[in-house]
Amino acid sequence: MNLRKTTFCFCNLFITMAIGITVWAQGPFVSGVVLDIDGIPLPGVSVIEKGKNTGAITDLDGAFYFQVASRESTIVFSFIGMETQEVLVEDQKIFKITMSERATLMDEIIVVGYGTQKRSTISGAVSVVTSDEIEKLPSLRVEQALQGRTAGVLVSQNSGSPGAELTVRVRGAGTINNSDPLYVVDGIPVDGLDFLNPNEIESMSVLKDASAAAIYGARAANGVVLITTKTGKKNQKPQLEYNGYFGSQKAWKKLNLLSAREYAILDNEGRIAAGLATRPEFKNPESLGEGTDWQDELFVTAPMQSHQISLTGGGEKSRYAMSGSYFNQDGIVGGAKANFERKTFRVNMVNDLSSKLEISTKIGYTNFNRDALTENNEFNTPIVRTLNIDPVTPVKFEDGNYAYSPYVETDIVNPINAIANTNSTWTSNRLLGGFTAKYEIINGLTFKTNLGLDLTFSSDDGFTPEYGTYSNDVPANERNDLSSVFKENHQWVKFLFENTLAYDFEIAEYNHFNIMIGNTVQDLDYTTHGTTGTDLLINDVNYAYLSLAQDEADGSWGEREQESWLSYFGRVNYEYRDKYLLSAVVRMDGSSKFGADNRWGIFPSLSLGWVLSQEEFLKESNLFSFMKLRASWGQNGNDRIPPYGFLAGVNPGYNYTFGDIETTNFGVVPIELSNSELKWETVTQTNIGLDIGVWRDRLMVSVDLYNKTTSDMLVKNVIPDVVGVQGPFINAGDVKNTGVELSLEYRKKEGRLNYNIGGNIALNKNEVISLGDSDEPILSGGIQFANGFISRTEVGHPVASFYGFQTDGLYQNWTEVEQGIQDKAAPGDIRFKDLNEDGVIDDDDKTYIGNPTPDMIYSVSGGASFEGFDLNIFVQGTKGNDLFKGYTRYDFNNVNQPVSRLNRWTGEGSTDIEPRVVYGDPNENARISDRFVEDGSYLRIKNIQLGYTVPQKIFGNGVISNLRLYVSANNLWTFTKYSGLDPEIGTRDDLEIGIDRGFYPPSRSFLGGINLTF
């Protein structure tokens, strides 16, 4: 019923817009000019008649002209960053309006958990990213819009492939388990943000300390990101906007690898050193020339485009925003085989059914397809194959078939062939939305109920054609004898029902209370099923359907998982004279993931604030316009562990083969002890912060100090092998993060030049305090070329630090070798340090050789506008993190290598760095050592954008009210000492950070775009 009314309302607005505004206005014409306090004209000010849709926007001279309904009309002047003014028309026809900068940014209303709050009265640590900032940086994923925008939030790429996940860490990795923050979109907790179009976002609040996040209790341990999507504003003229861009992406860096000639020289040398005969075809290396540059073959110029149409507006009783978008991006590796395509639709409606009752609906639908190549491993990714295949082999043989290398091991297949025969698509359809009703029962007492739905239907489709079967000589890894198709469907159905009751009141004078209680019920039902088929009737990806598979031998599978949460929460906010602030929160969470005895957890928090600028001694200060001291303490939980850990399970799949016709006979057995005591991880965090506004808030400074300790961390209990099953998860570990965050922002307007510069820095120290009773270190990050683990998580060290041998130069001659303790060594081999001085080099000589977590992350952004031109620049970087270069397959003799290998040891005194070339590597020069650890610090010019807003005069009073054209460059320049393809390497799993296994690098892209408002 409401819906129909709304629809009708929409139609009206469209008509209004189409016919034009003047038709409806009947009263006098008004005109005038809007100036700032310095007397300089303000263009772009919205001038509208209150309660109507009529109005204008000031031109470059600050002038406006339109017809109002009557002399009783009120005109509203509003402009971002300026105090909104209302003027009654009466007899006046010509207006001269002076707008002043908004008294303080601190009056801004920002979104916090279950409500909004004036920035000045928040006593927790909350950072906000606004739509202005998001729109400045055209980005595919929401996490990219978050990168560098808030102090203490580390966003890193897991892959540069279009649509790939990013890692987000709020104040460091809080646990050895899942450290992702909780994302809440319009009140609904969601997993992942791949479905969300950044342009739909009005604001993002990052709740960093325990007090801000406490209201999300058991799921808030790693911070909370609250995302609010756009709706129109009251009495906002309908605004139809188009935003779009086209762009082109390229690899920004190529590695210098050996040419065919150089490859042959080193191959000969390596064979001679090992006592092998050289290859006859490499007798004359010069004749081989440059050979194939596989990187040129791999990296392509890839297009991208984005289009979005939105309509926003509002009347006295309803506000709305509707939008649709289309995004399409190819990858710089794989082109269309790494394509990401996303379509989104959104309708957000708010209706005031009466002065007491507000009903709102926000619904977003997303469809995306992501074609993906294998990524981020050293075995079978296009990148690692490209970097390792020899330059002598061509891409194709003369007969047109894909070539394969006779030199490198068969793991290293022709990457171009592999890409051509990879067909893997993840398709997702997601509907996220909810209905909210808000009723003000008596003045200040508001009841809100929210029904949310999050539906995701995804499918994973794969097809491997039959290929390479033209000859029996084609090696197994370069061919596929039987076509196969794979399909797996997933379905997530999540419901949320939430009720809050809030009372906002004052006792006596100046004692302002806001009390809220509420509860939430959430339910998740996940099902999946999949099946495969082989031997397709038509060997073509366009016909890759199970109905055409002639053999379904490999059967099908399926699974279901259910989870539920039930929570109660309450909050008291108290302010005295806007000067003394207190906020106390308690949340009680029940989760189905834990056994009956440990199902409930209570998460309290308390924060205090003191607005010093409200005190007499600062009130008159010309320097400080604002100053607030904040302190908070609280606890949050992390329940992101696999469900059912408290039950003793038995596991299928431990099968054996019997029969004259070999047949799988199923076997079932427990493989793990259960732990009925399992409970949440708890984070206890203390935060002290200071917010300062200087020079009428032109300069804003925020500093936060925190100490965040995760306890009861889930660790796999290592038990004696004699039990015959694995140990259970137990709550035993502790991890501590301490840090400082600083953010600064300066805005100034000088004449027609507006500029701002801002930045933030965060220092974080991560340390493992305990790993359970045994404190057994956890090894992770296993790598093939050295047959061992790179990362080690141990008490007293940061999570997943690099662990290996220390090198000590090279043996220069036989005397040195004989004096040494490495019996396999020869001159030119690496000398490893015998750290425990026991006369042998073994595992006991390994030590910490690097820390992949940055000591510091920072960003700087600046913007300036002048006479319609605007320029924005955004720089971001890390300092003090190490990377492990793991993409060269040193376990193979014949792989291609960086040109730095040309500086190898060739005789006494030639070098002390690059070891000799030798087949078989008898000295194990390629063992895990500091040889492969490099400084991963970088500074990256993430984005530069130059825009021009076409003066309104050009369009007269026509349909177009604003037109901005821009060009933008992403990843334009990167300063780093790291010698791999890109230093911005995230995590592969929770305990693998900063290992470069042939990482899909982010691209450098150039975009040209348009923002058009009707």
Partner: protein, 503 residues
């Protein structure tokens, strides 16, 4: 009035949901918990199959998975003087290389992989022995399943006691707290348990011919007796060994197949000479984890380069020289340069990219036999011929020799030689020696007949010949008759487990 109503509604809504603690009771619906398992005959079969599963665990490298299992050929061949590790170089499974040179310390991951897999197998057998007796089911089948479990338990203790000596003897499933308390049991007691289990198994298991075709691969009374024979031989209980060997030989269940080479082809699996074979098949879809049903051995032992293998288990010249002139078993066991490697091409050093002169043949499979889908590397389907009839004959011959029955000893050895001869009387003349010469002949026969099948190392250990034969490999007789107990396990036990001397 209206306002009261609106105040009540939220209170009801906020309060109402407190009723629902049931709402938080979510149990798995697509997986099973222990309280709903071990109830039916079907469950009993599933439980025993899971115990068999551990038999086929090969090498799951520690950095890849949790690291448990072994290649029998690694312990039997690479550790001995018959073959070298191979691979792409010293960096390729360095832990294996260290052990081979008797440089492996207590932190060697191959040792912990062996230890862990053995105890997982023992746990699964114990679980069957604990849970299945209470299941209401066909009594005959129940007896068989319990006997199968006993065989499997004995099998894993046989590995443990040989490699580590005194090991914890666990005959029931342990709780977490018990697990920290266990101590090492004297090896003799472990051996006694092995004997008890195998006797029990042998008397309750069906013979090979009593199983239906679809059950081929399950342990038989013959397999239990053969392992018992081996146990007696290892304990040098010669007359028990002889009588047990005679039981197997006299059962009429086994014979020497005429085609020696053919025994190691796919068609030769579970043939007339097969007493106990660990089963693999080629449809594992390429899973690299424990749950695969395919073997890694094929790809591991195949030459690198054009042959696409990993080039492990490289036969030594010493091993090749052991074969008598014209012994047809040599080309059936070892590929030499110039040999046709099935349909994968001719063996040249150039084609392999490595300077090795020989490659192991018994795990060779043709390209055409590769599973059509899944990762071919882990989809090997060659069964591991763990106990062959020829092995039984030679062990019984050895027992006969030791109880003074040289005639029977010669007869059994010569049966094996006759089959190997393949009708060509110009080679492999009958053994006529006696005394020590006969014993040497039996040892020789074992080395060539069972070459690269994973027997040599323990043969050298049990006969104390390792000191001589493996001297050049770094074998120190005062230390290396046993391997070190994995250090991590000693640490976890809080010192309840002790280390072997010399480590």
């Amino acid at each position: 009035m209206n306002k009261v109503k609106f105040l009540l509604l939220p209170l009801i809504l906020i309060g109402i949901i407190s009723c629902g603690d049931d709402f938080l009771d979510k149990r798995p619906v697509s997986s099973i918990t222990e309280d709903s398992f071990y109830l039916t005959q079907e469950d009993a079969l599933l439980a025993i199959n899971a115990a068999y599963d551990v038999l086929q665990w090969e090498l799951n490298p520690e950095w890849f998975d949790n690291g448990a299992g072994h290649f029998r050929w690694f312990w039997g061949d690479v550790m001995s003087d018959d073959s070298r590790k191979g691979g792409s170089g010293d960096n390729d499974f360095p832990a294996l290389g260290e052990l081979e040179k008797f440089e492996g310390g207590a932190d060697n991951e191959m040792l912990s992989a062996e230890w862990e897999a053995d105890y997982v197998g023992i746990y699964r057998a114990n679980k069957v022995l604990e849970e299945v007796p209470d299941i209401e089911m066909d009594e005959f089948l129940k007896r068989r399943i319990l006997a199968e479990a006993r065989f499997i338990r004995a099998w894993f203790y046989f590995q443990l006691v040989n490699y580590f000596g005194d090991v914890p003897l666990i005959t029931k499933t342990l709780s977490l707290s018990e697990s920290y308390e266990v101590t090492r049991t004297p090896a003799e007691q472990v051996w006694d348990q092995i004997e008890t289990d195998l006797k029990e198994a042998a008397s309750n298991l069906p013979s090979k011919s009593e199983y239906s075709l679809s059950e081929i691969g399950r342990v038989t009374s013959g397999a239990a007796n053969a392992l018992l024979l081996k146990t007696f031989v290892f304990r040098q209980k010669w007359s028990d060994a002889f009588s047990t060997g005679e039981l197997v030989i006299g059962s009429g269940e086994y014979f020497l197949e005429s085609d020696y080479l053919g025994m190691f082809s796919l068609n030769g699996e579970n043939g007339g000479g097969s007493v106990f074979e660990i089963q693999y098949q080629a449809n594992s879809l390429g899973d690299w984890d424990f749950q695969r049903d395919g073997s890694f051995s094929n790809v591991f032992q195949r030459a690198r380069g054009e042959f696409g293998g990993y080039g492990f288990n490289i036969p030594t010249q010493d091993f090749v020289d052991e074969f008598e002139e014209g012994d047809p078993r040599l080309p059936a066991t070892v590929f030499s340069e110039g040999d046709q490697m099935g349909d994968r091409g001719i063996f040249t050093k150039d084609a392999t990219g490595y300077p090795h002169d020989f490659y192991a043949r018994k795990f060779f499979s043709n390209q055409t036999e590769t599973a059509s889908d899944g990762d071919p590397n882990v989809n090997g389907q060659t069964n591991d011929r763990a106990i062959r009839y020829a092995d039984v004959l030679l062990l019984t011959a050895e027992a006969a020799f030791h109880i003074g029955n040289e005639g029977v000893a010669k007869n059994y050895v010569n049966q094996v030689r006759e089959r190997a001869r393949g009708g060509n009387n110009a080679v492999l003349a009958n053994i006529t020696a006696s005394g020590n010469g006969l014993l040497e002949a039996i040892y020789h026969e074992r080395r060539v007949e069972l070459g690269l099948e994973g027997h040599r190392f323990l043969d050298l250990i049990r006969t104390q010949r390792a000191a001589d034969e493996l001297q050049g490999e770094g074998f120190n007789p005062s230390v290396h008759y046993l391997f070190p107990i994995p250090q991590a396990q000693i640490a976890l036990s809080g010192g309840n487990l002790t280390q072997n001397p010399g480590y």
